[in-house]
Amino acid sequence: MQLLVHSVSVDLNNDASLVIDIPDALCERDKVKFTVHTKTTLSSFQKPEYSVQRQHEDFIWLHDTIVETEEYAGLIIPPAPPKPDFEGPREKMHKLGEGESSMTKEEYAKMKQELEKTVQVHEVFLQRLSSHPMFRKDRNFQIFLEYDQDLTVRRKNAKEMFGGFFKNMVKSADEVLISGVKEVDEFFEQEKNFLLDYSSKIKDATAKAEKMTRSHKNVADDYNHISGALNNTAADNNTAFKKHLEKCAEVFEKLRKVEDRMASDQELKLTELLRYYTRDIQAAKDLLYRRARALADYENSNKALDKARLKGKDVAQAEENQKQCLQKFDKLSESGKKELTSFKARRVVAFRKNLIEMTELEIKHAKNSVSLLQGSIEILKSN
């Protein structure tokens, strides 16, 4: 069975020369296939428009190759999209494939919601890359967008080459190293303090938002059960009251739809926003970490140079090493400053956009609820 979903586009395409979106996704058994659609005026591309099928693992491959590229050390690497979470629905889809019963309305709706979420987050990843002056020129990014065959073979080769070494390194020691570094630059000192604090707060807010959304969905489910129970009761009653009960069951069913939509819109706009920025903050911290490492390397190279001068051995080598370390550190500091500044701007814009959209949707759904309820009350009163 296939399920088509059209994307909830969070449009980061601010430059018409390279426009990417994910117009739909297919959910087949236990795989999600994203349609990546590219429109470009850049000469580096072979065609002005592409549409390719990509799986989640392809995105991860792309992310990993970018992380492990030394050249990008001074940039905030857009966080990898999380794996699509289809635990329950996947099982059901599997059963469907083997000719079992059909999916209930609710299961279908949940699946659709999950797809919406995952499309959004995969799309944002690509748009972050396309809107960045350096990433958009990345060779692997281009391959990702235009190679019209399966990327599986390439992925396997890449894994063997890099083995995820850098990733593990970065994850393990960042907090300690960042806090331990003696910072002379006011800007980075402030950023460090801000990111460390903000990181824990946003993680917490994400968790709380997730719980809130889940409760909201539970309430919607309860409306569904109440509707069913009312219908059962209606089956046995005398005529006039039967109609009344059936009408009530209908009201609850409609309420369920609205509540469900409210909950999932809140999830898309608020919870997903917070989730995304939790990851993005981590990416920013990773940058600070890389810079801190570079600083530590520079300080070590200074010590090594002093030692060499004392001993009178390998001085030229040590001097060269120290020069390179300094260069690297300066480069990271310079691009890091730019990245962190634009990060703040980007964050503010995203929050603003999502908060406005969420609020407008909440208002819209609440108004729908009110008119639905008032209409039903009129009918029930007149009966």
């Binding site: 707060k201 807010a205 809130m212 069913g228 503010v348 603003r352 908060l355 909440e362 029930l380």
Partner: protein, 470 residues
């Protein structure tokens, strides 16, 4: 302003629902019933059970005088038939149970409630009476009413359930939210219980009911083996034995009873399912409230941490909106509970009482059958003695035959009477059920409308704040 109240009450069948914003305040649910219900036929055979002592040895009626001076009520005896009109005469009574007060300390402590009755009915000695009652008093009242009326086929509203866990918390003196909620839940249940009881035309005039509502001192009900849902089920099971011995009279009348009994079985199952779904809703709504409050705090912390000024302010505003929404969820959860969940719970218990009444009829029939069997035996015995030349014994046999003939007649009369009563009671019950649900559903939907309208207000106020992020 008694007139104004009466008129308002007369044309209003409302379930008012006042909420206070303060979390610890109690919610008051005042049920006002203003429509008249059918009058009970007060022919003499029936009057007997109402005025007799009945199996309630603990109470000595305080003012027997009260009954005779209200003779005018008992003179009225409108006739009953199956499809009666509702008598829109002066049925007007408001009862509220309020101001729970803890008396005493430790495990001997108990709650006392104020019971306020406002009425223009003449059977009451005053327009407004206020008395203090404790939970066991209510159970005692129900016990008496059940023993007097159930065997006649009247559906006696069940008393609220006992709760050892709930009461222990209160006794031990925990002032926390769950004890407060428990007391409020009980107060509301007691109020609904009294209102249902007086809504029953026969029970309204019962001297025990009147005494309960008016008498300032009430002798302590010692053995309150109240006929709770569980109690009635036990009774039902005993009656089931009688059913097994019954030879079924297959006529139209019995078909009606069979059909109705099946309907109530089905309704029982359906209502329990519905009740369970609503209870789940209440639970999840409360969880939503807690999680919303928790998120609000977290959003506020995030706002504090945010270094971009405008965004920081917007996040703080978001936190405030979510806090207000939390309060909305709490209020809605209360509506979920008091309007729908508790009502459904009441009806589940009421249906148990209805089933009990059907089984009483079975018991009555069985008794009737037994009497007939006995009569037959006595006749056979007499026939044998005809040829035995024992004049004394023959006379005794003849006397016994007469005795049992009388019992058979009485049994048949009782059976007819209980069948008639049940038909009427069921008719009344169905009407009330439909009316209650109609009213409550509308009230509930209106509460949902209110919640959504508030949400719109809050989000519309937040929107400019979100747009102001620059």
């Amino acid at each position: 302003s008694n007139d104004a109240e009466n008129t308002a009450a007369h044309h209003r069948n409302t379930l008012q629902f006042n909420t206070y914003s303060h979390r610890k305040q109690l919610f008051s649910v005042c049920v006002t019933l203003s429509e008249a219900t059918e009058e009970v036929s007060l022919d003499s055979p029936e009057r007997q059970p109402i005025l007799s002592d009945g199996p309630s040895p603990v109470i000595t009626p305080v003012t027997p005088v009260m009954i005779s001076s209200r003779a005018d009520v008992f003179d009225r005896s409108p006739d009953q038939d199956e499809d009666e009109e509702e008598n829109r005469d002066t049925f007007d009574i408001q009862i509220s149970v309020s101001d729970p007060e803890k008396v005493g300390d430790g495990m001997n402590a108990y709650m006392v409630y104020k019971v306020l009755t406002k009425t223009s009915l003449s059977i009451f000695s005053r327009d407004e009476v206020c008395v203090k009652r404790r939970f066991s008093d209510f159970l005692g009242l129900h016990s008496k009413l059940a023993s007097k009326y159930m065997h006649m086929g009247y559906i006696v509203p069940p008393a609220p359930e006992k709760s050892i866990v709930g009461m222990t918390k209160v006794k031990v003196g925990k002032e926390d939210l769950s004890s407060v909620e428990f007391v409020e839940k009980r107060r509301s249940a007691l109020e609904r219980y009294l209102l249902r009881t007086v809504k029953h035309p026969a029970l309204l005039k019962d001297p025990d009911v009147l005494q309960f509502l008016e008498s300032s001192e009430l002798p302590r009900a010692v053995s309150t083996q109240a006929l709770s849902g569980a109690g009635i089920l036990r009774m039902v099971n005993k009656a089931a034995d009688a059913v097994n011995k019954m030879t079924i009279k297959m006529n139209e009348s019995d078909a009606w009873f069979e059909e109705k009994q099946q309907q109530f079985e089905n309704l029982d199952v359906q209502l329990r399912k519905l009740h369970a779904s609503v209870e789940s809703l209440v639970c999840h709504r409360k969880e939503l409230s807690v999680n919303t409050a928790s998120f609000a705090k977290s959003a506020a912390m995030l706002g504090n941490s945010e270094d971009h000024t405008a965004l920081s302010r917007a996040l703080s505003q978001l936190a405030e909106v979510e806090e207000k929404i939390d309060q909305l969820h709490q209020d809605q959860a209360c509506a979920d509970f008091y309007l729908i969940s508790e009502l459904l719970g009441d009806y589940v218990r009421l249906i148990t009482a209805v089933k009990g009444v059907f089984d009483q009829r079975m018991k009555t029939w069985a008794k009737c059958q037994d009497a007939q069997v006995m009569l037959q035996r006595k006749r056979e015995a007499e026939a044998k003695l005809q040829h035995a030349n024992k004049p004394d014994k023959l006379q005794q046999a003849k006397d016994e035959i007469r005795e049992w003939e009388g019992k058979v007649q009485q049994g048949e009369r009782d059976f007819e009477q209980i069948s008639k009563n049940i038909r009427r009671e069921v008719g009344r019950f169905e009407k009330d059920r439909v009316k209650d649900f109609r009213v409550v559903i509308i009230k509930y939907l209106e509460s949902l409308v209110h919640t959504q309208q508030q949400m719109i207000k809050y989000w519309e106020a937040f929107l400019p704040e979100a747009k102001a992020i620059a």
